[in-house]
């Protein structure tokens, strides 16, 4: 079975600081993709960043970047220059065969001024 583990139920960061959210996954498949989604209080899920497993280069999207360690099956999200609008629940996802999306349990990010 595919599993995604987010071991940090909650994280706090101050504005302008950097925070890293952890995610580990377990899959026996060679073809998979990894995603981070953000769910603000509005409940609307928003794609933050995506990583193709066959690519060694870490994905970046503006202030968001990932540290993808394939051998360790680790996929952490780094948020630089944190903003109040970054406060949300963050979910790590793996996409495996037959388009199955497996979610982690989420990390709530609190951002203080």
């Amino acid at each position: 079975a595919q599993t995604v583990t987010q071991s940090q139920p909650e994280m706090s960061v101050q504005e302008a600081e950097t925070v890293t959210l952890s995610c580990t996954y377990d899959t026996s498949e060679s073809d998979y993709y990894l995603f981070w989604y953000k769910q603000p209080p509005s409940r609307q899920m928003i794609l933050v960043i995506r990583q193709e497993a066959y690519k060694q280069q870490n994905a970046t999207e503006n202030r968001f970047s990932v540290n993808f360690q394939k051998a360790a099956k680790s996929f952490s999200l780094k948020i630089s220059d944190s903003q109040l609008g970054d406060a949300a629940m963050y979910f790590c996802l793996s996409s495996t065969g037959f388009q199955k999306l497996v979610f982690g349990t989420g990390t709530r990010l609190l951002v203080s001024p």
């Binding site: 498949e29 073809d31 995603f35 996409s95 065969g97 388009q99 199955k100 999306l101 989420g106």
Partner: protein, 118 residues
């Protein structure tokens, strides 16, 4: 703008009622999903459809059924609602990858329906 619309944001139903949750997407996506979101458990897949009239069971299909008669609409049905089905329900849609492959495109989500069964 991609839009996935769920018919209700909040719903209160009585135990034993038949409940319909509707989801409509306007992007001509092949895939549609129903998830249940509970604190500490993340999102769990209830059912998945990759085409009209096609459906696949997810991880927690018990007590639920689905209907996909048209490409844009995917309905989740609680045949006889129970209190343990009180939860947040999220619908999603995406383009389809090749059969057997991982989904490599973004999934778009509705805003969720918070269902309370009393």
């Amino acid at each position: 703008d991609v839009k996935v619309t769920q018919s209700s944001r909040y719903l209160v139903k009585r135990t034993g009622e038949k409940v319909f949750l509707e989801c409509v997407q306007d992007m001509d996506h092949e895939n549609m999903f129903w998830y249940r979101q509970d604190p500490g458990l993340g999102l769990r897949l209830i059912y998945f459809s990759y085409d009209v009239k096609m459906k696949e069971k997810g991880d927690i299909p018990e007590g639920y059924s689905v209907s996909r008669e048209k490409k844009e609409r995917f309905s989740l049905i609680l045949e006889s609602a129970s209190t343990n089905q009180t939860s947040m329900y999220l619908c999603a849609s995406s383009l389809r990858s090749w059969a057997g492959q991982a989904l490599n495109t973004e999934a778009f989500f509705g805003q969720g329906t918070r269902l309370t069964v009393v």
